[in-house]
């Protein structure tokens, strides 16, 4: 299952809500302001590092780049472009946007 998170973890609790219910082996994709969750050294970095044990974590590269933090994303996060975003949706039988 694919979980899409589009808001910053410093603005909303959508990341926490997602992590509370997502089953192991799911994929998380950060888009729009959600990409701030991928920032190395932030207050949420440990939360995300923990999440990487159970989930495949992906980030939409153009949204990282648009915010000037492409070089500051944590290691271990898979970067995808829009074509990769489409592939993730196609590969996942269910898709949940955490709005």
């Amino acid at each position: 299952m694919l979980h899409i998170i589009n808001k910053s973890p410093f603005e909303r609790n959508s990341l926490e809500s997602c992590l509370r219910t997502a089953s192991k082996g799911s994929t998380l994709l950060f888009i729009e302001d959600g990409v701030y969750a991928a920032l190395e050294g932030s207050a949420k970095a440990d939360t995300l590092r923990q999440a990487m044990q159970d989930y495949t974590v992906c980030v939409l590269e153009p949204d990282l780049a648009a915010r000037g933090i492409a070089a500051k994303a944590m290691d271990g996060i898979k970067r995808v472009d829009y074509a990769g975003f489409v592939d993730l949706v196609a590969e996942s039988e269910r898709v949940q946007s955490w709005l």
Partner: protein, 130 residues
């Protein structure tokens, strides 16, 4: 694969209508079918032809219209959300006694059943919003 897209946010608000557009375009480029794009809540504001963004900015509405023309997309605006926000086609203009219509090229106004149908018919429904 058949995709359906739901857009819940208006243009120039945050980023959801941009992401929805770029995702839709990327899906088409990869050879997928877009069964329908359904505009709901503030998303209906994507479908007005009365916007005039600055020339150096993207024109969100025209961009949808052009994509729809190129790929024969079905862009559906939720009627109840449209009535609240003043998105009007000829039928709505006459029915509700309005003085004008503003539905953009390639968009049509219909009901929530169109979203349900898209959810059933498409292999994937992807929601973009605030």
């Amino acid at each position: 694969m058949k995709f359906a897209i739901q857009v819940n946010e208006g243009p120039y608000t945050h980023e959801a209508s941009d992401t929805a557009y770029l995702f839709t375009r990327a899906a088409l480029e990869k050879g997928h079918e877009i069964f329908r794009v359904f505009f709901y809540h503030d998303g209906v504001n994507n479908g007005t032809n009365l916007t005039t963004p600055p020339q150096d900015d993207r024109n969100v509405t025209n961009r949808w219209s052009e994509l729809a023309a190129k790929h024969n997309l079905d862009l559906v605006v939720c009627v109840a959300a449209a009535q609240r926000r003043g998105i009007v086609d000829e039928g709505e203009m006459k029915r509700n006694g309005k003085s004008a219509q503003n539905i953009a090229d390639g968009f049509r106004i219909s009901g929530l059943g169109q979203l349900i149908e898209a959810g059933i018919q498409a292999d994937r429904l992807v929601v973009f919003g605030d």
